[in-house]
């Protein structure tokens, strides 16, 4: 089905003919090819590339007038970035890619949605600043990471979730009204997320961003941290064997293994209590093995050579301090904590891999190697609670994972989940990333069964470990565990999006 000619003409008049298309091969580029998603996608009827907030506003108003659903996107990696209903357009925000401001004094950056991780990160780092980036790869939208996801990331032990760094926001609501939040609203600048009255950050994000389905963020300010480490990163070698170093006397990576999850859990708690380290993570060893190898064949060779036994309970710690003395102090504490809990340093060649891939702690390009085993991956859990509760949840996975991995359609290992403490152990994020081969036609039901089983485990055991979703069925199941968030989510959606055109839920 195509848009009415009147609607198309009006949309084209907003963006110009070069930035709208309904040609089938152009639409093909944004037609989802995800065989494992448990619902049918539609093709968008047109793709638009607006260049300004005003253009976005005009598009949204036209969509409301004609009852056209719109889906905003930037990188296009999320399953939510595709048309789920007929009579939809994709609003691709790639052209809105300006860094409006980097305020070094007040430590914030104002960006448009099209600014990518590889664009902003070096700009702020050379100014002695940094920000917490989720593992979305070089082309991920920085803004979407802060406004439209939970923002969990691998360096959140010494920082926090990205969404806690969100400051002023400019947003086109589902009906086309432009809202500016916090200090921005009063003309006081971007520095503060909230103004008088109810906070709007939750409205912007829904429960966790994109699943709120509430319009389009067109500019946002994010808070920046002082950079721990040099302003320049040093890279050597040619892909896929590049090395990325942080030349600093104040930076060290240490990797330990522990005998059991309980000991590792105690160590993470103690490191949080001591308030040391930039990064602390019980990393998942299956993705780690993928990151360390340069082909699927090399992965299988390494995987079958005993790495999973050796690295079953790995703790990766990055110490990044502001002085050599501080580093010595943190290293001493780390050594004590590891020793007291039975942690043992891994082989030098494993530890040195991390020293040579410091981009992992910045924009995480190398993590995309998890896609290598046929392109399929999906997480279970993704929630956040205390470190100890996350360990309890992680331990439970072994009771049911084999039912799904033994068929050979899904691939993972029981202990291969990650737990990443946040804000020095204030809470922690859990995630088990399982793999499947997208080229296998049997995948779709198996992915659904495994994720449903993981969810059922949480409900039955009253775990607080699942990321509540927007899908109505999932929301109905998990809502009672999370203060019936789904009821509120729907009411907010109905209030702001009376025509239900802003990336409607399924």
């Amino acid at each position: 089905m195509s848009l009415s000619r009147e609607a198309y003409r009006e949309l084209a008049a907003v963006v110009g003919d070069a930035y709208i298309s309904e040609k089938e091969h152009i639409l093909s580029g944004n037609r989802v090819k995800t065989p494992e998603i448990p619902f049918e996608y539609h093709s968008a009827d047109a793709i638009l590339l607006p260049g300004s907030t005003e253009e976005v506003q005009a598009i949204v108003k036209i969509c409301n007038r004609y009852g056209i659903s719109f889906i905003p996107t930037v990188s296009g990696c999320s399953a939510d970035a595709f048309a789920k209903h007929a009579n939809s357009v994709i609003i691709h925000l790639k052209r809105m890619n300006r860094i409006i401001e980097i305020n070094e004094e007040d430590r914030f950056a104002v960006i448009e949605p099209g600014v990518r991780q590889v664009q902003l990160y070096p700009e702020v780092r050379r100014r002695g600043l940094s920000y917490t980036a989720a593992s979305v790869g070089p082309g991920g939208s920085v803004l979407a990471n802060f406004t439209s996801t939970s923002g969990d990331n691998h360096v959140q032990h010494g920082t926090s979730r990205a969404n806690r760094y969100l400051l002023g926001v400019e947003m086109v609501l589902p009906d086309g009204e432009i809202v500016r939040t916090g200090s921005l609203q009063t003309g006081s600048g971007w520095f503060c997320p909230d103004g008088p009255g109810p906070g709007l950050r939750g409205i912007v994000k829904g429960y966790f961003g994109i699943h709120g389905q509430l319009g389009i963020v067109t500019r946002a300010a994010i808070a920046l941290d002082p950079c721990r480490g040099p302003r320049e990163i040093r890279a050597e070698g040619v892909s896929p064997h590049q090395r990325v170093y942080l030349d600093s006397d104040c930076s060290k990576v240490r990797v330990f293994t522990f005998n059991d999850l309980g000991s590792l859990c105690d160590a993470m708690v103690k490191l949080g209590e001591a308030e040391i380290a930039s990064t602390v993570q019980k990393f998942f060893y299956l993705p780690m093995t993928l990151m360390m190898t340069d082909s699927a064949n090399a992965f299988w060779e390494k995987w079958n050579s005993g790495i999973k036994e050796e690295m079953a309970m790995p703790l990766v710690v990055h110490l990044a301090t502001r002085s050599v003395e501080e580093l010595e102090y943190e290293e001493t504490i780390l050594g004590d904590v590891a020793r007291e809990n039975g942690g043992v340093r891994v082989r030098p060649e494993i530890e040195s891999w991390w020293d040579e891939h410091m981009d992992f702690f910045m924009v995480f390009g190398v993590l995309q190697r998890v896609l290598r085993l046929g392109g399929g991956w999906a997480p279970i859990k993704l929630g956040a609670d205390s470190i100890r509760h996350m360990c309890e949840v992680g331990e439970s996975i072994s009771s049911y994972i084999h039912d799904y991995t033994d068929t050979g359609i899904l691939f993972d290992a029981p202990e291969s989940f990650q737990i990443v403490p946040m804000e020095y152990g204030h809470s922690a994020h859990i995630e088990l990333l399982f793999m499947y081969d997208r080229t296998n036609p049997s995948v779709r039901p198996e992915v659904g069964k495994f994720t449903a089983r993981a969810r059922a485990s949480d409900i039955a055991d009253h775990f607080h470990a699942e990321m509540p979703g927007c899908l109505n069925q999932t929301a109905e199941q998990l809502g009672p565990l999370y203060s019936n968030y789904h009821v509120w989510l729907r009411r907010i959606k109905e209030s702001f999006d009376t025509n239900n055109v802003a990336n409607p839920m399924l």
């Binding site: 930035y19 298309s21 089938e24 091969h25 152009i26 639409l27 093909s28 580029g29 037609r31 090819k33 995800t34 065989p35 793709i47 590339l49 990188s75 296009g76 990696c77 691709h92 052209r95 860094i99 600014v115 991780q117 590889v118 664009q119 070096p122 700009e123 050379r126 790869g137 070089p138 082309g139 991920g140 890279a235 040619v238 892909s239 896929p240 090395r243 990325v244 340069d294 082909s295 699927a296 064949n297 992965f299 299988w300 981009d359 910045m362 924009v363 995480f364 390009g365 190398v366 995309q368 896609l371 290598r372 085993l373 046929g374 392109g375 399929g376 081969d437 997208r438 080229t439 296998n440």
Partner: protein
């Protein structure tokens, strides 16, 4: 030559991660010069990218999408520069560029080849060069009294561009080899187009015929090593020819030979001009796309296991250091690097027949590359591919001097 169906695994396993569009994280320098796909940067739609072309290929393969309505223009605007391919292979085991080439093959077989490329094929068939100029003039640049080592087993392959358009490059290559005491011969009337323009535009049957003929020529003349000053010919010999036939000759680029001659002391560049700050442009076909192609016929088991193991071309073994070593050996020449360099070099716009299919886009892309070169503070952009030269010396924004590395080195001897 592989067909579209052979790349279904690549099409099916792509999940839109976007690595094919953006510079690799270790190379990040800032907001500017972060995009690595010329067509995506120019047109913005995801269809204009490696990821988008994989989606299109899948829909063509399954019959969901048909040629027409501008698809051919999109497909032939792609410069086939391979940046998407190398970036993807940083993290994945996929064949993005080979899928695009197979899609071009499919498009051509469906009779949808752009007229400009049909014309190129007609010229090559008639005159053995891409310009349609008389074959007898191919070596018109050669001095009348020139004599070479007629029985040498090393050939200097001039290529269409240097033979007909950039004879200074041809003369410079001869001068360098002679100065270094390299025994070589020219193929004269036996030299014909390398076939890159056919292979890379999907005219695979014509390419196969030409390639087999060239291989037979080398065999007949006892050629064991082919030296070329053209990056396009070089890339074709190393990564194109093995797709069509078994090759028994070694290929070297003139910069590789020159770097060896310099390091062994057989030639010694001298200062010959005012000090000059230059930046070096890595030609796609000399850099990331020149890795030797090793045919693979196997099975992809579940979870990506390739049986037998496949020799991947991830861009690591391209020719990157030799040109830089040559530049570094010329007194007074100082090199400053662009952000998008080595395997992440940004195409000049001339690749894959884009100049013929979409000259405006090619000129704009060249302008973008010059803008990056100028941002380094360099006074000139240096490269060693006649097609890059024509593009970077051509019309468009941000004009700046271009120097051919082969000529630059020869002038310093």
């Amino acid at each position: 030559m592989d067909k579209l169906k052979d790349f279904e695994y690549t099409m099916d396993s792509c999940n839109h991660c976007g690595q094919c569009k953006w510079i690799l994280a270790p190379k990040m320098k800032g907001w500017d010069f972060a995009e690595i796909c010329p067509i995506h940067q120019r047109y913005g739609f995801d269809a204009y990218s490696g990821q988008g072309l994989l989606s299109i290929a899948k829909e063509i393969l399954t019959g969901k999408l048909q040629y027409g309505d501008g698809l051919e223009e999109l497909l032939y605007t792609c410069t086939c520069c391979g940046a998407c391919d190398v970036n993807c292979k940083n993290v994945r085991d996929m064949e993005v560029l080979d899928t695009i080439l197979a899609l071009r093959d499919d498009c051509a077989k469906n009779g949808e080849l752009p007229k400009a490329h049909r014309e190129t094929a007609r010229r090559i068939a008639g005159t053995h060069n891409i310009y349609g100029l008389p074959h007898g003039e191919r070596f018109a640049w050669m001095p009348k009294d020139y004599e070479d080592d007629g029985n040498a087993d090393t050939a200097l392959f001039i290529g269409c561009a240097a033979a007909y358009k950039n004879s200074d490059t041809a003369l410079a290559a001869v001068k360098i080899l002679r100065a270094g005491g390299v025994k070589f011969r020219l193929l004269r009337e036996d030299e014909r187009c390398c076939g890159a323009s056919l292979w890379r535009t999907g005219q695979t049957e014509a390419a196969a015929e030409l390639i087999e003929r060239n291989i037979e020529t080398f065999r007949r003349l006892g050629i064991k090593t082919v030296i070329t000053a053209c990056a396009e010919c070089f890339g074709a010999f190393r990564s194109g020819y093995p797709r069509f036939a078994r090759t028994e000759f070694e290929t070297k680029h003139i910069t590789e030979v020159a770097a060896e001659l310099i390091s062994s002391g057989r030639i010694a560049p001298k200062a010959f001009r005012e000090p000059l700050m230059v930046t070096y442009h890595d030609p796609c076909m000399l850099g990331r796309l020149s890795e030797p192609y090793v045919p693979w016929n196997g099975i992809i088991r579940p979870f990506g296991l390739h049986e037998p193991p496949k020799t991947w071309r991830r861009g690591e073994n391209g020719v990157y250091d030799a040109p830089r070593r040559v530049l570094g050996a010329i007194p007074g020449v100082e090199l400053t690097e662009m952000t998008r360099n080595y395997e992440d070099s940004f195409c000049c716009g001339a690749g894959g027949g884009a100049t013929e299919a979409n000259p405006d886009f090619a000129a704009r892309t060249a302008g973008e590359r010059r803008r990056e070169a100028m941002s380094t503070g360099a006074e000139a952009i240096v490269s060693c591919c006649p097609f890059c030269r024509q593009s970077l010396e051509g019309a468009g924004d941000n004009p700046m001097p271009y120097l051919d590395l082969t000529v630059l080195l020869a002038d310093s001897l």
